[in-house]
Amino acid sequence: MKLKQLEGLLGDLQQFSDPKVELEQYPTGPHIASRMLFTAENSFGDISSKVVADFGCGCGTLGAAAALLGAEHVIGIDIDSQSLEIASLNAEDLELDINLIQCDVKNLGWRGQTVDTVVMNPPFGTRKKGADMEFLSVALKIASQAVYSLHKTSTRDHIKRAALRDFNSSSAEVLCELRFDVPQLYKFHKKKEVDIAVDLWRFVPKVNQGKGD
């Protein structure tokens, strides 16, 4: 699938109808979402024929993008049932098979590393401090191959240090810096927060090394 085609399909998805501030519910726009997954697939081969998990899937944009690029099994996890209902409708519209689970990402029980790749746009932790780090920590435990994630550029050094030192990551690389439009959904958003600098990261979990699969 061509990048433009992917972006077009993602642009038609339904997004949060009634976003919940405390859960940092805003969608990854089609421009960024399509490039994120396209890079994961075309530069690294981390998507097609893989088991992909979308952490904090919201209305399912990243998971849908993975499925459109040929992921064999996609699991979307979100804490919010309303978002999952929309994600389910989105998958149906695109005739994609996505397994959705309602759970807090940090509390879900996994039997080992059965997921290949995690893709996520976690809460930045502006409402609940450390939310982004919790997501990253779990993702690096679950994935056997790679984790793709978006984090505020202002936290770059902190993310890198935590990933390499505390979270079992053998490499942590910023693939590109993006401007992220966090739409002014919420009254408390000050003007300067509407367009923020965000890094697209690729992390490789350590346990994978030398295991040979």
Partner: protein, 122 residues
């Protein structure tokens, strides 16, 4: 929810030492056709807990899988077809997943399991 997902999850309630496999309570099972991908099946095979998988398939009404297999089965097209069907095409649409140690039910509605834990279970 596919049986593949079931094979990946376990109960994570505080104090539970072995939350796998979650027992399946069937309300409704649906089938959705998926394109056959032999390479994916071969890669996935060593990661599957086979006994739990066979039991789960039986519970949702599919008894065609062999009780015991080794990787030589992957040479057989007939086996791969059955593996494919059970792993990817059978969905628990309504019902529940039940913690094997505590009996706590996690309801499944419209194919979506609700695995949220209560405060005292974290």
């Amino acid at each position: 929810m596919r049986l593949l997902t079931h094979n990946m999850l376990s109960s994570n309630i505080k104090g539970v030492s072995n939350g796998f496999p979650l027992r399946i309570e069937v309300g409704k099972v649906v089938e959705k056709q998926v394109d056959f991908n032999a390479d994916f099946l071969r890669n996935m095979f060593p990661k599957i807990e086979w006994k739990a998988f066979v039991d789960a398939a039986k519970t949702v009404g599919y008894a065609e899988l062999p009780e015991e297999v080794d990787s030589s089965a992957l040479e057989s097209e007939e086996f791969l077809n059955k593996f494919h069907h059970a792993l990817l095409e059978l969905h628990l649409e309504e019902g529940a997943l039940v913690c094997p140690e505590t009996g706590r039910r996690f309801p499944v509605s419209k194919g979506i399991p609700n695995m949220l834990l209560h405060e005292d279970e974290v």
